[in-house]
């Protein structure tokens, strides 16, 4: 199996009376780095969770190649998730496990690998991120940046075909951001996965992405190559690129 294209059609989602996604359409290219950018609170995490089946849409379709997954049976989602990894915004490391076991966990649970074999691979991943020293630590003892990198190591251990990253570099200093960005590029080269990165880091998006989509008011207002974005005359896009506080987006944080 090769990395799938992901297509979203007319996705709608409200929480109570708060509409977050309003008929969103999106095309994500297979075996490419796709960035989804937009303001905080704009529904980027909500969108990503729909793609992983963690939230159910009120309406709409989510296609992985030619399979429609919105409303699919739990067993179908489970099969798809064996090919998928997800980096959560705040890491979502298991507090009750050591760092080493956290990273080894997907191997252990998905391939029934024993802890020793899974641990060898986990150590390699941690070394790539200069975190071998944190092996026995508990997630609670790490800094926010370290937690994020451990979560990244955990997401990369399976070499999945579909990779979802929710703000992988938010909260990291520039040097670490660069290291993480580099690793995302490396992973793609190694696994040819369909990578979806949610970010409000516009510079990283334009530098790294093959494809960019911008979410605003619950819809995708522009998708295309980084070049398309640089040239766009759309006011909201221009404002986001320039980081201005005045414009259709309202105040930027």
């Amino acid at each position: 199996m090769s990395a799938p294209a992901i297509t979203v059609r007319n996705l709608n989602k409200s929480f109570g009376s708060l509409p977050v996604l309003k008929g969103l359409d999106l095309n994500l290219a297979p075996s490419r780095i796709n960035f989804i950018i937009g303001q905080s609170g704009g529904g980027k995490s909500v969108l990503l969770k729909h793609l992983a089946g963690l939230l159910a849409p009120d309406q709409g379709e989510i296609w992985f190649d030619d399979r429609q997954m919105a409303g699919a049976a739990p067993a179908d989602w489970r099969a798809l998730r064996m090919r998928m990894a997800f980096l959560f915004q705040d890491g979502a490391l298991f507090d009750s496990l050591s760092v080493g076991r956290n990273v080894a966990f997907p191997l252990w649970v998905q391939q029934r690998a024993d802890w020793r074999a899974a641990g060898r691979k986990a150590r390699e991943r941690l070394e790539e991120l200069d975190l071998a020293g944190a092996w026995d630590a508990r997630p609670g003892e790490l800094s926010a940046g370290e937690r994020k990198r451990v979560a990244l190591a955990r997401a990369l251990i399976m070499e999945p075909e579909i990779l979802f990253f929710d703000e992988p570099t938010t909260g990291l200093d520039p040097l670490l951001s660069e290291q993480v960005d580099g690793l995302i590029g490396l992973t793609l080269a190694r696994t040819r996965a369909t990578v979806v990165v949610v970010s409000h880091d516009i510079a990283a998006a334009l530098a790294l992405a093959d494809q960019v989509a911008m979410i605003h008011s619950g819809r995708i207002i522009l998708e295309g190559s980084p070049e398309t974005f640089r040239r766009s005359g759309e006011p909201a896009v221009r404002q986001f690129l320039a980081g201005d506080s005045e414009g259709p987006l309202g105040f930027l944080d």
């Binding site: 990894a85 705040d90 997907p106 998905q110």
Partner: protein, 262 residues
Amino acid sequence: MAAQSSIILTPVARLGALTLGALYHLGNYSLLLFRALASAFGPPWRLRGILRQMEAVGVESIFVVILTGLFTGGVFTLQVIYGFRLFAAESLVGPTVALAMCRELGPVLTALMVTGRVGSAMAAELGAMRVTEQIDALTVMAADPIKFLISPRIIAGLTMLPFLAAVADFTGILGGYAVAVAKGVDPGQFVGRIRDHVVLADVVNGLTKSGVFGLILTSVGCYMGYYSQGGAEGVGRAATGAVVISYVAILASDFLMTAVMF
């Protein structure tokens, strides 16, 4: 017009919404309980997880349960001696205390103590895992969170509560014995009459009830935490809600089971 009719309609609508809400939660809870029990019996076996929960529920509760048993047995005996002296039935103090402990006080008080210790902690733990997206993380790794997080806790409750209740029964009778002897009841009579009047079924039925209580307090705690919403505040609500709901469910099911069993 709208304002007028709402004075009448609002309470009715509220009641309707409340009933629907309760029914929804009851159905959802039953489903979770069923899935937790069904998924426990199949690979990958979660033996280590179950043992850890058995330790948290059982071993770490022993001390509280011993104290509960001793004091309950003691105070109950004080009251019984007072009452029975009125009609010279002191020889029946032993069996009265033993029957009350084994059939009722041991199982119920143990369950209430463990709810406060463990049921609320389970709600808080799972609630925190929900808020910090650890439950979502398990799901995207294709690992069933119900099997990993909830099944071991329910199994631990189901198996450890009878054990704890037995400890409470025993220490309750021990506390009663100490008080009775200090109050001048004949020690031989206290023990002898227990032998005459207490049968195995009294003990076994009590322990069976406590197994059900263990199932209730762990599954309610897990349910409240697993479906908690609204950040840290929601976690707090889940923990207190788990205690209140478990208490009511334990007392109500105790009445029902006792009516059927004894």
